[in-house]
Point group: D2
Chain length 494, copies 4
């Protein structure tokens, strides 16, 4: 994991006089930090992912310091220009990250000192790394949450397109991986549209619990300086400042909730992935993934492997592990900030990237997968799938369901033993199993009728499914619009 | 775990003719189930917790079957009376649970047969155990979710009462378990009021994703019978029937989200518990738990142990484990119902009970804990806690924060080496460390001032904290009222 | 989870004079424990599973107390007779468990008081519940570990029997759930014999880390009384007393290691289970589970579901959750005993039972599953499975493998596009793809040859597999013998 | 996580003619892989950590191919020289890693082609990436396992040194974080020496289950070529080839067991870390970490924070999460290789690095921590710690322990209510509590006596602890010697 940082430690050595040079806290210490410790405690290798948010925050903080009279116009201008220059360096990949400077916050501050001199020391006025990183993390999570929500709706969009195309493609619905009753492929995929819809809602709800800005909470108790917390909160797109300074710096439930939502969404993706793997097998043969979404074998020339859904399935385990890490980490920590909390970032970054990438490749795989309707219909034609319908024919005659089930169960056993098609039983034979079978019983049980008779809300009849497709399509459209709008209001939006 | 069921297997043997007697599916089978398998697959030991919900469901289903003409008035009356009688038996603890009948659903149905005869076989008309158990679980989760939300608000209420009492109790706020800055105990406990407030919100939000009734989704594809799904949905307190029958029987994200919310809340409780354990130690001595919330040692006569918070802390691990179990279980399952899903119940029941009980005992422990303000103030009087304030005194003179921090860091080192009180440094000495120290610097840094100067929103000043207490109190009150109202609308409410 | 205890609380009230009556620590307390706390902290509902071990321990302790002169012969006789009587009550299910008495240890001690009077108070001489429960848990784990090891070898035995029967049954080996190369079913199942063999070793190794008896470690620091720790260690089947009293009462890594070994074994079982589910599908059709190891559907009369392997697969998630619970629980606990540790038992009991039952039902399911060799061979006959062999034919001619792979890859694409059998390509056509194909290339690539040519150790040739079966069979036999012997030496063995 | 790979994709495009150029399996495919898929499925960003092992493997494989006559001497020489050159490039950091080439194996093979031309295509003769990566992973795990074992023994060595130094430093032993009985600091730290000793054993045992080489198992079924599996097994330091080809490529329990052992060891480290954090608090004040093992605060100039133990505690959560990821990943996968398994590496690499670094910094922190014996002794002098000894004085007079406990419990209550020192009670007063108190009871209960009387094995008496220190020291020495020897036998050892 640890990589060689690009920068050198020389700058660190210059920037402060204490025994722990280059650190923002050297004054009190007699002895420098052991190099193994410096490496062990540094977070710059991963928290550089927060750079963009940290700069946005620093700009808002600088503006506020000036507005409240804590720094002069001149200072504000110098700091802002320095921060802008750093933003450009980071954007361009030219920023000299330096592991000796611990984290992204100190890297930025030290670089600022190189650019604007002594005034850089005013940037940290009235703030602590504790409220700073808590705020950075919420800004990151807000973006990751909208990205996840968007990705989920986009995947739903792809599923809906393919579903429309396969409104009349029929396959067996399975329970226990046994063929159970026939369903439309559109209906089957709509099940996932529902799941991903709730997943998306979860991310939306989660953002409502990130409405308060920690900035201004200081290390844990606020500040004695006359900061304007409402000002920075608004500037950063929050509703209001946080209500309690200790909660603000010590809590990580926003990250936990994000990781939970990501893990649940990944578990749903893993189910869809499992089906693509199953359906790609020679035995099912229901689909063939596009070449562009498959890979081959280094040994076996004939192989075409469903690597994309396999990896998505595998990566769901990663999202679960990340959630466990953070729950376990936070468990039992007294207030307020403890250094353990530095470990909050990697699971969050990893789950955010894992979910985003998984949504992208699954959308691609589904958009391009070749469906084989004939293989599906062949499987759906299994007469055993009509057994329930035979029982319901009896129920419609007033037979208690249990009796009907028992009678049809015996019919099924008879057909298996005699290797017969359930639909081929003659009237007399049927009535041997139950005298209330009507004369047209066999006509009543057919694949088409099995689908069309299930016309209740949520069922498989053509009209029912069509309406469900329309409703879902409209929902996706309106949510994506809302997200665009939300995005356009975010600080730093283009 | 497995307990001896009260009933006998004799009834099972009578109730059906097939080779798998007593089961609801014997017709097709030639051979009875192996007894180890019967035990392995039975769920009645735990799913009896669903009995109340299953009966509510069956009554709503019966009423609908009659309203839609699928059963006669007479049948309806018989079924309803039978179900009522069974409800009474269960309430009274007299119901003869029978492991041979697999699960709660078949136990009820078989018992109904004993009470009302052949018509009992009509109860299962148009439904499957798949949609039945999915609906039962949502009904259970809805209750567990409101109970959790209520318990969280009640605990907040206790914290607020104790906080009001300790508005002027001062203790050190900690970071890294090192004394950092002084805070009011009221402020400290308000941090937890915030956390538990978000936890409560999470449960409320979660219920919005349980607004659709699975009932009528059948095994996976709906039903060919003319059921009225809107009717049962309404009767059971749902907004509407579920949109997709396959999603309805196959998904468990409602349970996953509940388990996530419970795990996060338990993690927050574990942090509060950790503090009670720490604070009860001889070294801290900040609190003493009531005898009624402590236990002793079987060996050491002097011991008084904080068992309640220790167990709450320990039980948070259980809530995490339960969440892992269910996430892992659902991962990679193809649609729709797979028997693995039977394992969804125990983690849900266990986390629900764990959270409910933990909230109760923590509320009791906090309501009765004896606080020792003098020990807290003594600790808060540590002059080192004013170091930040000294630095902020310099900042107010226009010194860049970094310079101020460096100067005060050196003062701190000087005081440690010379064993001096930071507040005792004379003006001249102070100005050696930084020439911009004003003459009254030492007066500016005091415990009271440290608290009162932090008057920003979320800070520790007396007025700020008073307002925060009022706002939180009002929030608890209004949420508890809403929950009462929600409860009064629930089906089966008294 | 919590069930009504059979006994009453009346005995508790009588047995001690303090304010926390019935407890073993009442003297110091002024106030009784709150009833919600009593329920919350009681462990008797689950730790009664330790009763047998606790009595064995108490008998060994009593004998030692006498041998070292700490109690008289008369006292020893009274205590031993009392303990024997209690053992009988527990065996017979007549023991009046009493939740008010917290745990199994105090239940036994209180009952002993009822039976033998004041001398019962001597039983706890020189011991604490801390060392007592640590010892009980190791005794339990030792049994659970040998049971797990035995169950694994028994399952291996069943797999070997079925493998011998299916030495000549050929099916496709899969990678990525794509048909890859043909293998013998015996070879396939031997893979699981290997996995379960390592799982069994893990349990055996784990017992070597439970060789030291905690008894005599007291609450945490040993005892001032002249106990003989070697004596009780030997009597309880340990090698020696533990080396450090604080480690002995505070550590739970024996339980963690057991839970890890159980989780890994369950994960292996889940893979075998997954295959049984897949192979039972209509699409694969490779096996049919016995009726005795299947269940049906309450709605669909035709269904026969592989519930047993599904539940085993599901229960592996439970074993993972249990491991997480205990790892998370122990994390960050300072020495020595903390009440959190009471929560160590339920995950251990649950994983032990889950593994034991899963091994039993899987052994039964495999012993009775009907294999369909014709369906397997049909699938294995897919000519694409010979692609690697074609490439290796070229390699044998000196062609670099990469070139060979590339050539055969193009042959495969050609056959797919033209819908041809790879084996049907004529010599000239083959040589178009690579000029080094020998004239008899097509003869060289056949199903039989594909199996027989793979005669390296670990490969699929008939002789190779036969030798592997013999070696594995011998290993199972000798391990089961060792376990019998180990068992016959255990304390309390019949 | 994802970093920009150094190389370019140009080489990939040249190296093969198919539609999926640069891949080792392009022949069969018509369409190139989608770029998002290429990124999603590439593992080169992390599996480059296997480079060293992969080259060792390839050299052994090359030698065997020659020895069995599958390649000529000339080919062998070319391949070996090419591999050596690549090893140097990797060592020097000059190897042009290329994400377009998927993984480390194809990166090496492609580079080899650039160096030695067409003969590079012979390297993959008779092997598959499936057996190759399984072997690489075992080689990595073997090293990681010995490194972990060594690190644990080294940490034990440091603990032993500090323990010897503090043989006569007395502090309270705690249960429930309440002072319980006095112990020597040497005794306290020996508890961790025991735990880490078992942790080390676990790694040693684990290596015995990695004794078989997967190489030669091919994709899943072995090879039709006359490879010599014993030869490569020996050359790579294995005992023998694996017994079953399908197990060899499909199993990951070696990784699971490693992750379990790492998680348990990290949990033990977290307990030691927790104590360092607690003891560094102002309230305990038992230790002060060296400046070199602490950091300060960016805001509060006075702060000195125990970041190292805090991070170690936090990182234990990471090790638990990694274990969960892999257990969950493997759960339910059918045989043999599935692409999910690619996700096995990151958790393994991360836990190996986390454990290694945590052991290093904890050893450093403990070697340099300043102990404050006077603060410890002050705490240990709490007279309540002698309560058990008073009870045992009565037991020595023949009083049943329960009676003695009850009497002393009342004494304790009396002393708390009257604010008295337990040792100050006069003979007459004592005898009020129990008439059997001997006249010299108060003399019998003293701090020194409390320690020295606990002279049982595992107890706190000076001689007992001295012997325990010697035994442990000898154990560490001999294990480190064994590891050195084991290391010197490893392939590629200097």
């Amino acid at each position: 994991m640890p990589k060689t940082p690009r920068g050198t430690t020389s700058r660190a050595k210059d920037s402060a006089g204490g025994a722990a040079p280059g650190t923002p806290w050297g004054g009190r210490f007699r002895e420098a930090v052991d190099p193994t410790v410096a490496r062990f405690t540094a977070s710059i290798d991963f928290d550089r992912a927060l750079a963009r948010y940290d700069l946005t925050l620093s700009r808002a903080h600088t503006a506020m310091l000036h507005r409240t009279g804590l720094i002069s116009s001149e200072d504000e201008r110098a700091l802002t220009e320095g921060l802008d220059a750093i933003a450009e360096e980071i954007e361009a990949g030219d920023f000299p990250f330096d592991a000796a400077l611990e984290d992204i916050h100190m890297n930025v501050e030290a670089r600022l000192g190189e650019k604007v001199g002594r005034v850089a020391g005013k940037l940290h006025t009235g703030r602590s790394r504790n409220d700073q990183v808590a705020t950075d993390l919420l800004l990151y999570l807000r973006d990751a949450s909208t990205a996840a929500e968007r990705g989920l709706h986009e995947l739903r969009g792809v599923l809906l397109e393919r579903a429309v195309e396969h409104l009349d493609t029929v396959l067996p619905g399975y329970t226990h991986l046994q063929r159970a009753q026939p369903v439309r492929l559109a209906h089957h995929w709509l099940a996932f549209v529902e799941m991903f819809g709730r997943d998306a809602e979860r991310f939306a709800d989660q953002r409502t619990r990130m409405r308060n800005s920690p900035l201004g909470s200081g290390a844990l108790a606020g500040s004695t300086l006359p900061l304007d917390r409402e000002d920075t909160a608004r500037a950063l797109g929050f509703e209001a400042p946080s209500n309690n300074s200790m909660d603000a710096v010590a809590s990580r439930d926003a990250a936990l909730e994000f990781l939970s939502a990501a893990a649940i969404a990944m578990v749903h993706l893993s189910r869809l992935a499992e089906e693509l793997v199953l359906w790609s097998s020679a035995e099912f043969g229901f689909v063939e993934l596009a070449d562009a979404y498959s890979t081959g074998s280094s040994l076996m020339p004939q192989k075409k492997n469903p690597d994309v859904p396999e990896l998505v399935r595998g990566k769901s385990a990663r999202a679960i592990g990340n959630l466990v890490s953070l729950l376990t980490l936070v468990k039992g920590l007294p207030l307020t900030y403890n250094r353990d909390l530095q470990e909050d970032k990697e699971p969050v970054f990893d789950s955010a990237a894992t979910l985003r990438d998984s949504l992208t490749v699954m959308a691609g795989a589904l958009a391009t997968v070749e469906v084989r309707p004939e293989r599906m219909r062949e499987a759906a034609n299994d007469p055993m799938l009509l057994a329930t319908d035979f029982a319901e024919v009896l129920v419609a005659q007033g037979v208690p369901f249990r009796e009907a089930h028992e009678a049809v169960g015996k019919m099924v056993r008879h057909c298996i033993e005699e290797d017969l098609d359930l639909r081929s039983l003659e009237r007399a034979k049927l009535q041997e199993f139950h005298s209330d079978f009507p004369d047209d019983a066999s006509q009543l049980a057919s694949l088409e009728r099995a689908l069309e008779q299930r016309s209740l809300v949520g069922g498989t009849a053509r009209d029912t499914v069509t309406r469900a497709l329309e409703r879902a399509h409209e929902h996706v459209r309106s949510r994506l619009e809302s997200l665009d709008e939300e995005n356009s209001r975010a600080p730093g939006a283009p």
